[in-house]
Symmetry: D2
C-alpha cells in the first residue's frame, strides 16, 4: 500500500502516518519527491485500515498495490482449475470444464413443462450439446411475470437426467433452496442479480457442487473475482466465472457482452470462464456471431438459449435459437474451436 | 401495446399478428402508414406475451404503452404515502416520512461496539437527528473485510432505542434474518446489492415494518419501482425509495449521485424518497453540498454517515462526517428546507 | 510516479527500471515489500515516458502520483478566478462570474427569428436573467434536423445586445467561425460534443473572450479540467466549467445531471462552475428542482432554456420553461441562494 | 410516429393533437384503449415536429416508429457497399473492403520518424498487412503530451506509399487539414472524439476519399449511423464504421470493446465494419484474442497497433504488438477467417 501525502504536508503529518502504520506492525518507507512525499508500507497489508489512512490529515490518497483476491487468483494458484462433471447416467462419459474442450450448455430460459424438457433435451443431446440449462426458479423484474415452475421444474430436470442423460445446470435464488438444488443439479448457477448476495455465496461455499457465478450488470471483473473468493473461502473451490453482458447506454442490445472479460479473467484467475451470448445480446440473430467470437476469444464454455418454439416461449423468446439454428451453430462453433486449437466437448 | 411491422411486411403477416392477439382476448387496431404498418392492441395488456410477438415473422418491434408498475404508481394511487414511525420510547413524539417534514437518519456505517452506539446516538439526538442508522449485518465486497457484529449489533441498536430513544433503521441481507430484524427495527433497509433479491423482497412484503429500498448500482428507476411493486404486491404498502448513487466511469466520486431521481420518483410514484449522499459520493467533503442539494430537489429524508472518529471507523470512514461537521450541516439543511417551503423533522 | 513490480520480479528487472529512470534524470527509490517491490521516481515527472515503463519486463503497473492538470488546478493557483463580463450597453452595470453572485443565463435553445429574440430577451431581462443564451450554430445528431440560423442568428443576438442589453453566450462549432463569434459574444460556449475538439480549444485559447466548456457526455471531470488546461495553456485564462449531464443507462432522463461535479470542481480547480439542468434532464418539469439543487450544491451560474412557446420551439421544446414558469423559478432560486449565503446576480 | 396520450386525457386533447398533425399534412389514426388512447400518424414523418407534440397538454410520450438513418441503412440501400482501394504503387494489386476478404490495417499509434515508418512498413507488408495506419496529427487529452509530427508525419507516410507501397489510413482532426490529408491518404480516419464534430463531417462529405468513422466513447450505434448519414448526405458514399470500445466502469480494460456492434451494424447498414482491438482494450496481451473474436463476429477489417519497440513508443506503447507477435497473430487470424468462410486480404 502506498500513501500519497498532500503537496506541502509537513513533517509532523508524515511522522503521524509513519507512527500509525508502525503500530499496525508494518514498516513505513518514506520517499520525498519534488512535489509530493509518498510513504510505502512494507509488511502484512491485511493489517492496514485503509479508510483510517485516507482520513488522516495531510494524506491525499492511498493506493493499494496488491490485488484483493488471493484464492481466485492465478498468481497464488498457478494451476488452472479443471472441473470434472460426472456422467448423468451410469455408462455415459463424464465432462471436463476448463480443459481443452469447450462445453455447450443449452436449453430453454425457463422450464415450461415436462414434455418440452424431455423432447428438447433429447434433441440437444443429439445435436451435440453437453449440458442442459433451464430455470426452475426465475428472477423476474416484475412480480406479475412468470416466476418459474419451482420444485416441479426441478423434478422435470431431474427426470431428464435419468431418461435423456444430460447433466444439468440450474439457478438458485434463495438460500433456503440451496441444499435441495445442490442435491440434484450438476452445476449451480448464481444469477447476475445475486452476484453480490453474500449470504447466498456463503451457503454455496458449503455445497459440494460446482458453482457458476454470473457477472452482475454493473460489476467489475475484480468484484466478480471477489465473489468467487467468497465461495472458495467458504470451502468450495469449484467456481466457474460467467460473462453475460453489462449494462451500458446502447439500446440495440439488451446488454453489452464484454468479451474482453474472457482474456482478462484467464490472465487473472485459474477458474474456467463461460460466456452467455443469449442474455448478453438479447436477440437471437446476434447469438451466433457472438458465440463464435466467444470461442475465438478463449471461452471454456457457452450458455445458449434454445427453445423448440421461441415464439411461444414463456420467457425470453426473442433471444432463443430454434433447434434448426442451434444445429447450424454447433457446426460453426466446431470450426472456430478448431481454428484456435480447441474442440467442442 | 403497439406492434410495429417491418417495412414491406405482407397482409398475411399482419393477419397472423391480429389473429394471435385476438386469441388472447384483445382487439387489434391496424394503421397502415407509408413505410410501416403498426398494430395497436386494445384490451387487457396483462394477457399479452410480448416476447411471442417480437418473434413473429414480419414484426420489427413491440412497444409497451402502459407503465409496468401499478401499485407503486402515482397514477393508480393518487394519494401520497405518508409513513408514520411510532416513538421509540413511551412519551416521545412519533415521526412522519413523506409529509412536509424532512427526516435525517444519521449514524455510523457499521455498529462497532455498545459504547460508541449509545454515545453517538445521544449526541445525534441532541443535534436534531430523527433516526439512528447503523449496520449490524454488512454487505462487503471482500470476504476478508469486517462483516458486521451481527446479532450483537442488533442488541446494541435495540438498547439504544430504550435508553436514548432514536427509532432505528438497519439493513437486512438474509431472508432468514428478516423476521428478527422486523421485530425490533423501525425501518428495514434493503441494500443496493439486494434491490433485485426477489426472494428477500417477497419475505419483506409479509413483514409489518416499513421497508426502504436502495436503488441498485446499475438499476433504472423503473426497476426500483418494480422492486417496490414486489414488496407492495406481497402485502406491505409501506415502502420508501432511496437514491444512493449509480455506477459510472467518473473516478472522483465513489458513485454518481443521481439527484434527478428525486423529482422523477415524486412524479411517478406516491412513495417517499430518501437520498444517501454518504454512499452516493464516498467523500465526506462532498456530503454536505449534496445533502443540501437533495433537500433543494425535494427529498423527504437523508441518510447520513456520522462517526465520532472517522479516522478509526471500521468501515467507510472517508465518507463519514464528524459530529462537529454534522451539527453545522443540520443548520444548513434547516435553511435550505425553509427556502423550499419545508422543515426538518 | 510509482512503479509496481510483478510478484517475483528479479533484481535485474528492478535494476533495469532504475537505470532507465536515471537516464531520464530522475532518482529511483526502491522499496522491497513482502510480495511486491515498488519503485518511487523522484524528480521531474514530465520527463517520464509512462507507457515505456509499463511495457518493461517485470513491471506490473505504473501509478501516477501527481495530478495531470496544473494551470486549471486550485493547488497551483490558489486564488479563485472571477470573470468580469462588461455591460452590453453603455451605462449598464457589468457582471462577475465566480464571486458570491449566482448568474442566470437564460434563453431559447436555438435562435429562431429576430422578433422572438428581441421579445424574449426583454422579458428575461425584466424577470432578472443576467445573460442571454441562444444557439446560432446548432450541433444536431441528424443532418436532416434544423442546423441553426448561422450568421443571421448571430446578427439577431448582436442586435439584442444593443437594444435590450443582455450580454450574450453562444456556441462555436467550427474553428473557422471562432474569430467572428469572439468578436461579438460575451462568453463563448464549447458544446459537450466538442469538449475534446483539440483544434478548436487551441484556437479559443488565442481569443480574448471567456470560454465556457461543457463536459462531454462520457468525459470524466479530470478530462474536463485537461480541456480547460488546453485553453489556458494556449493563452486564455478565462475558462468556465459547465456540468450538463452524462450519459447513463437511465431512460427517464435524457442525461444524468452529475451535481457532485460542482463540489468536486470547486475543490480541484479555481475556475467558476455553471450547471445546465435543461440539457441535463431533458424535461421541463425536472428543470426547476435540479436548478434549485445546483444552487444548493454551490454552482456559480445556471444555463436555462426558456421559450415563449415551447410547444412550437424548433429544437428541444420539452426541456424549455415557459416565461411564467421561469419567473416563478427565479423567486425560488433567490430563496435557495439566500439559504446558502449567496444571491442572484 | 405514435402519440401516447395520458390516462384520462379528454376528447379535446385528442382533437387538438389530431388537428395539429393534420395541419402538418399527416393523417391521425386514433385507437382508444382501456387505459390509454394512442394516435398513429400516417404520412411523411419528416413533417412532424416531435418536441412540439411532446409538449402538448394531455400527451404522455411520442414514440418514433421509423429509423432516423436512411442512406446509411440496409433497408433503403440493399446492396452492401464495397470500397475499392487502388494500389499505392503502379503495378501492385488494389484492395476491396466490405467483400469476402478481411483487411488488416497495421502500424504505430504515432508516426515518430522517417526511418521507423519505412522499416516498419516494409516489415508489415512482408507479414501480410494490407494498409499502413499511423497518426501524424494526434488527439491527446493533455496539451503537454506529444501532439504528432503533423505535416512532417504526413510526408513520411506519403514517401512510404511510393517506396514500400502500402496504402495509408490516417486521422484528420481539423477541418483546415482535410483537403491536404484527402490528397495523399487512401482512407481518412475520424477519431472517436470527433465522431460528432459535424463541421468536420460535412467537409469530409465533399472529399473524394473513403472516410472511416470511429464510434465515440459514449455514442450509440444509431448515433454512429447518423454521423455516417452526415458524410453520405454531404456527397461521399464511401463510409466505413469502426468499433473501438466504449467507456464503462470496468478498469481492467481501457475501454470495453463492444463486439456485438459488428453484427448489429451489418444488420442495420450496408457499410463495411472495422474493429480496433488495440484502442478497444489498451493492453497488448488482450489484442490477439479480441482480434480473433472480431473476425469470428464478422468484421470486415482490423486496425492494429504494431511498434518495432513498444517500450520506447511515443504514444500508446502498452497496447502495441511487437513485430514477432504480429506475425503470429496473422497466422491465427487466417485460421479464424477460414473457419467463418472468409480469408485475409
Amino acid at each position: 500500500m502506498i500513501v500519497v501525502m498532500q503537496k506541502g504536508a509537513g513533517d509532523d503529518r508524515i511522522q503521524a502516518v509513519s507512527d500509525l502504520v508502525t503500530e499496525w506492525g508494518l514498516k513505513p518507507h518514506v520517499s520525498r519527491g519534488e512535489e509530493r512525499t509518498v510513504i510505502g508500507l512494507i509488511g502484512d497489508e491485511s493489517k492496514v485500515n485503509e479508510p483510517a489512512l485516507e482520513m488522516m490529515s495531510g494524506v491525499e490518497k492511498v493506493m493499494p498495490v496488491l490485488k484483493p483476491y488471493k484464492r481466485a487468483s492465478l498468481e497464488f494458484h498457478a494451476q488452472r482449475t479443471v472441473i470434472k462433471i460426472p456422467p448423468a447416467r451410469h455408462g455415459d462419459r463424464g465432462l471436463t470444464l476448463g480443459g481443452p474442450g469447450v462445453l455447450v450448455m443449452a436449453g430453454p430460459c425457463s422450464v415450461e413443462n415436462r414434455d418440452m424438457i424431455l423432447a428438447l433435451a433429447a434433441f440437444l443431446k443429439g445435436a451435440g450439446a453437453h449440458l442442459l440449462r433451464g430455470g426452475a426458479f426465475k428472477p423476474r423484474t416484475s412480480p406479475y411475470a412468470f416466476q418459474g415452475l419451482g420444485v416441479e421444474g426441478v423434478r422435470y430436470l431431474s427426470e431428464q437426467r435419468s431418461v435423456v442423460g444430460l447433466p444439468v445446470i440450474t439457478e438458485v435464488m434463495d438460500v433456503r433452496d440451496a441444499e435441495m438444488i445442490a442435491e440434484f443439479a450438476d452445476l449451480i448457477q448464481v444469477g447476475a442479480r445475486n452476484m453480490q448476495n453474500f449470504a447466498l455465496l456463503k451457503v454455496l461455499g458449503r455445497c459440494r457442487k460446482p458453482v457458476m457465478l454470473k457477472r452482475g450488470l454493473a460489476n467489475t471483473l475484480e468484484e466478480l473475482l471477489m465473489s468467487a473468493e467468497y465461495v472458495i473461502n467458504a470451502g468450495n473451490e469449484e467456481v466457474i466465472l460467467c460473462e453475460r453482458g453489462i449494462r451500458t447506454f446502447e439500446p440495440f442490445t439488451r446488454n453489452t457482452l464484454d468479451l474482453s472479460a474472457v482474456p482478462v479473467l484467464k490472465r487473472e484467475s485459474h477458474l474456467p470462464v463461460v460466456v452467455d451470448p443469449s442474455h448478453g445480446t438479447g436477440h437471437w440473430d446476434l447469438v451466433a456471431p457472438m458465440a463464435r467470437a466467444a470461442v475465438a476469444a478463449g471461452a471454456d464454455g457457452l450458455l445458449l438459449e434454445v427453445h423448440p418454439d421461441p415464439a411461444h416461449a414463456i420467457s425470453d423468446g426473442p433471444q432463443s435459437l430454434t433447434p434448426g439454428r442451434f444445429k447450424e451453430l454447433m457446426r460453426e462453433l466446431e470450426a472456430v474451436a478448431g481454428a484456435v486449437g480447441r474442440h467442442l466437448g
